[in-house]
């Protein structure tokens, strides 16, 4: 059960090796979290992540979960909810793709869309149903500023995050009053392996900063969280730029 500060005792991470998700999880273990489910594609990385969290004192389980296999979501995630209440779900899986290649290889582009959007729609709905049945819980969705306005440089990823973001907002409205809280987190450039090797964007931040923002958002029961917070203003300005100007921005 969550406490007065929205801190969960049990946590399900979708995308169990995500660096951002693991930073959030470490933070929550330092607070109230005792049980963690890491859902992801089986890999040594997933087991290693589980081991590291165990060393922090949590009881950690792993579950096979592939965003690209929506047909399996009900089963894979149903198993977790059958074991007991899940106080928080962190939807963290995602892939950046390779914009240049994906433009030439539509099938690769579709995989980005299917992971980030379709996979999240499926897993998000499965989790939402289970959370609603237990009458409480937070669904925290890692969206991205990239979805706020798609840019020339990564519009395939950006459009998939735009879809995810819109989906999560709508889901939050659908679940309003059901005891389930949906929080959309929009980080800017976060230094993780996903962005390794890319030129750093302004206001670049860290997984730990995202963890801090998530903790604060849980306490406030926020619906939208920007990391860093200044991006809220920056993005609202960018959003209103005329197309011609936006197109020529070096972002």
């Amino acid at each position: 059960m969550k406490d007065a500060f929205g801190l969960p005792q049990s946590l399900l991470v979708l995308g169990g090796t995500s660096e951002i998700a693991l930073a959030v999880t470490r933070r929550l273990i330092a607070r109230r979290t005792r049980t963690v489910w890491l859902a992801g594609r089986p890999s040594p990385g997933l087991d290693e992540a589980a081991g590291q969290l165990r060393a922090l004192g949590a009881e950690v389980h792993t579950v096979d979960f592939d965003a690209l296999d929506p047909a399996g979501h009900e089963d894979a995630l149903g198993k977790v909810f059958a074991e007991g209440d899940v106080d928080m779900v962190l939807l963290a899986f995602g892939t950046l793709g390779d914009q240049a290649r994906d433009e030439r290889d539509p099938r690769a582009a579709v995989r980005v869309a299917q992971t980030n959007y379709t996979g999240a729609v499926s897993a998000g709905l499965v989790c939402a149903g289970a959370l609603q049945a237990q009458g409480h819980g937070s669904l925290v969705v890692l969206s991205s500023v990239a979805g706020e306005r798609a840019r020339r440089a990564n519009f395939i990823y950006g459009s998939s995050k735009a879809g995810l973001d819109a989906f999560a907002q709508g889901l939050g409205d659908a679940l309003y009053g059901t005891g389930v809280h949906v929080m959309v987190v929009r980080p800017g450039f976060v230094r993780t392996r996903m962005t390794a090797g890319l030129p750093e964007a302004p206001l670049a931040t860290t997984p730990e900063a995202v963890a801090t923002a998530v903790e604060l958002g849980l306490r406030r029961r926020s619906e939208t969280v920007w990391v860093p917070g200044a991006l809220r203003v920056v993005m609202s300005a960018l959003r209103h730029l005329p197309r011609g100007v936006f197109r020529r921005l070096p972002v």
């Binding site: 059960m1 406490d3 007065a4 500060f5 409480h136 009053g177 005891g179 406030r220």
Partner: protein, 449 residues
Amino acid sequence: MPADTVSVTGWGRTAPSAARLVRPRTFEEAALAVRGCGARGGIARGLGRAYGDAAQNAGGEVFDMTGLDRIHAIDADGGTVLCDAGVSLHRLMEVLLPLGWFVPVTPGTRYVTVGGAIGADIHGKNHHVSGSFSRHVLSLELLTADGQVRTVAPGTPLFEATAGGMGLTGVILTATVRLQPVRTSWMSVDTERASDLDDLMARLADTDHRYRYSVAWIDLLARGRATGRAVLTRGDHAPLDALPRSARREPLSFRTSRLPAAPSFVPEGLLSRTTVGLFNELWFRKAPRSRTGQLQRIPAFFHPLDGVPHWNRIYGRGGFVQYQFVVGHGREDTLRRIVRRISQRRCPSFLAVLKRFGDADPGWLSFPVPGWTLALDIPASLPGLGAFLDELDEEVAAAGGRVYLAKDSRLRPELLAAMYPRLDDFRALRAELDPRGVFTSDLSRRLRL
């Protein structure tokens, strides 16, 4: 039976969860509701004045007991009342005061039910004399998980598990309560200021026994030499001859007045250190240094906050936490340290309450033990509050003290067994009486009660 799915919180308005709210209108309906509840169980709810998650049950049922509010019998000579558990103490006062009787124990609000008073085994300003509410319960009827109604008498394990058992042994349907005789509906009140915490504790320890009711409001924003400065208000029911002639005509009339409700929207940060500090300062200054025998009405003395309906909204949508703990006599050092830490941290806390408890009652999870109890409200949005209160818990537990479950919304479950040594007995009784875990609340899930 009326029922709908609603989002429920406690008085502190944190951690909402959704439940089916069922409103039984008869004992039969209550029994049906208990027998028919689903896998996530059910929990009784009175007027929702517990601050945390005691009277909510995510995904399950919440039994709103306020529809069962009949007063069945009053023994106006012997001073007992038999009533439904959904009757409020406010209602009892309205009915009983004109007959010359008062409730044996009242908390800081009249808007609690008899069921809630037993479920949390509440204490009042008279704890050092009268103990907690359950001491005055002569008998109760309990609807247990099997759908049966049992008559439960003091001195039995089921009674002791139920007094302070936070609704987890069953649904209390009725109770027979022993009353306090009074000659008037007025209080005779002595007020004095204490300049700091030591002064305050000395005054309470030396002279509490002279008063039936005693409490100190302490300013936790005062620092340095003034740390722990306070205003003591102590008193008793006024005798007839203390009333002015005009009041003697209707000495037992019970009058209450309410101000307009607090607005439903309050901007964040209304209660800042500055505003709360200013309030506390004014309030301390306006209290007389010493005054005796002042006549006050019952609401003014016992329930000042009831004058503003929904005052809990002033904390905004983030809600607030009430932290209340007790440490035993001889643990004054812990109390001093905690008061110092709170005031150093400058928590924007309105007047907190310090009281000296008397003898404990036998409820297994009953909160009061002889010693010192401090209660304070803090906005939940205060940065770092969770970790800070965790540290205070450690101090409290190390001193053999405990926090009050009716106020709790954030205790670390690992500390519960140290704070409540009868926890294992409580769990064992529940396992036997309610093997399916019909009675479940968010509190019981969170703390694994």
